[in-house]
Symmetry: C2
Subunit: 334 residues, 2 copies
């Protein structure tokens, strides 16, 4: 019997990454293409389909095709896979992404939000596997703050597929920065790479470096203003995580994305604030609580790095095949 | 075949209510006793057991006993039913409530947090039944702000049973009032009866009425300061619900407890703020969105009033009998 394999697609605003995957944490093969947004969505789908068909031509003879998974920027209408007002894919509003891909590859496609597939990967083959948990939250600190929740072994979608948005918990609810979502003081405005660049401009003026990475270098070299910006990131994460942990009492919260490279700069403030703000965290903190390992609240850096999204897309077809109930929050209706 | 029935207990700091229950929203019979905390926890359990045994003597001949459910103030260790540092039951820390009751009644007992049983009742026989949803959040605005989550048809406990605490989302994270939980600016400090009384004292000085109920009467009579306090309650609820709705995209959030009687005073501000703060709510608001009924986010007053806790306790044994997996967030281990 041939080994089952899947193909995953990580549809980013800059790169289009496609991989064939059989099991574990390694890919059978990977294709990386530029996302040619300037040529229109149909061309992007053609580029994607060509890479998928190429991988299928190579692996179908030796492996059993399990399906194709796509991690896409949102918001998405699921399971139809229709894109709604995506801030990073102008002109794609209302696009039936799933149908467009299926038409060109002739294989069933599962679509899922990019933050959700990253959470799925960390759960199935990353730290979630390591700790044996059934539930976790993953925050991806990048251009925005994406987030995904696995609850009792299933991606949590909510009723309209818009669930999981911990990046839009309001951590500065009153005088906070306006957010692209229409809210005020969302976590995304204090913990994303974009937010860090804005805070640096606001607080350092002409001294502000051109990137969060350079700001981290300045902070490591002892620049106090730079250090304080990462402390603000840590405080904002603590207020957001307090809401997550007090509401859901999850065993594992992972922080990934480019900003998480600055873990040592924001984590000490994050943990100190979390300890004072969340009694659930305080009672279950791994190094201090007397509860058993399985009952602790671990907050750690994610493990899979920039591969989390692509791996999660590859895992989607297998997840879909074994699931018997949608995690939507509404009753399935006849 | 005899109809199954259960006995439920609502263990409050003031009253001990015990009911026999068969189905629907009505009790077979109800017993209300004072909670004689001054005589110690053993006496309270003896009072409870006496009432339970009396009901069993009456209904066992005609009905089939399904079990006993108890809604208790928390925090609780579940399913053991051990009480941990309960603020309203001094001297009960570490008490094995389940074992103590079982010893005197000879029937299996299920223990659950009081806010969780209220959520269970609203889900099974209140507005959750009416709308046919599988998930909901219920906030109980009383002495504190209790909350319970039903996710995909199960009470959400989290790994240590401490989940569901939306009352401790921080809605004034920086200059907010210190909370009994150790946090700052928790929703409980801005939307409970206790908080309303405190805000009235702070903002109205000697004009402050002696109860939230009288404050509501003043607000209805046109007192602007009194009205503004309820507007602050509405704003705090909106910030808290924004976190809940953006994270979980639930189809139904219910607000119960004594403060919910002032619905008309806080709800207009709550809805206006929620519409501006939560894009998930904005896109799914019942009166404005174009999505189908099943995809809307309804925020409504709870339906069962002060009976929610007692009804939920009665429903617990039936819920426990049909569940095949704990909603704990951790894998069951051999």
């Amino acid at each position: 019997m041939k080994q089952p394999y899947s193909i995953g697609v990580d549809l980013g605003g800059t790169n289009l990454r496609i991989a064939a995957y059989a099991s574990g944490r390694e890919f059978l093969d990977t294709v990386v293409l530029p996302t040619r947004l300037e040529l229109g969505r149909d061309q992007v789908v053609r580029d994607m389909a060509e890479a998928i068909n190429g991988l299928m031509a190579r692996f179908n003879p030796t492996h059993q095709m399990a399906g194709i998974g796509v991690g896409s920027p949102g918001p998405l209408e699921l399971p139809e896979g229709i894109i709604r007002n995506p801030p990073n894919l102008p002109g794609w509003d209302g696009f039936h992404l799933r149908a467009a891909i299926e038409e060109q590859v002739g294989v069933p496609v599962c679509i899922e939000g990019d933050a959700n597939v990253a959470a799925l990967a960390e759960w199935q083959v990353g730290k979630g596997l390591h700790y044996g948990v059934e539930s976790l939250c993953m925050l991806t600190l990048g251009t925005g703050v994406g987030s995904g929740f696995i609850l009792n072994g299933r991606i949590w979608h909510g009723v309209t597929g818009m669930g999981g948005e911990a990046g839009h918990i309001q951590v500065h609810p009153y005088q906070g920065a306006a957010c692209g979502c229409g809210g005020f003081g969302c976590l995304e405005q204090y913990a994303s790479a974009t937010a860090i660049a804005r805070m640096a401009r606001e607080q350092m003026g002409t001294q502000a470096p051109s990137s969060p990475h350079m700001l981290a270098t300045m902070a490591h070299a002892g620049n106090r203003q730079a250090q304080q910006i990462f402390e603000q990131v840590g405080r904002a994460l603590a207020v957001g995580l307090t809401a997550v942990i007090n509401m859901l009492n999850l065993p594992l919260c992972l922080i990934g994305g480019g900003v998480s490279d600055a873990w040592d700069l924001f984590a000490p403030t994050m943990f100190a604030e979390l300890r004072s703000r969340s009694y659930v965290y305080r009672l279950t903190e791994p190094t201090r609580c007397i509860c058993g390992e399985a009952l602790q609240t671990r907050i750690e850096a994610a493990e899979l790095g920039s591969n989390a999204g692509l791996l999660g897309a590859c895992l989607l077809p297998f997840q879909a095949a074994t699931s018997d109930a949608p995690s939507t929050g509404v009753l399935a209706r006849a």
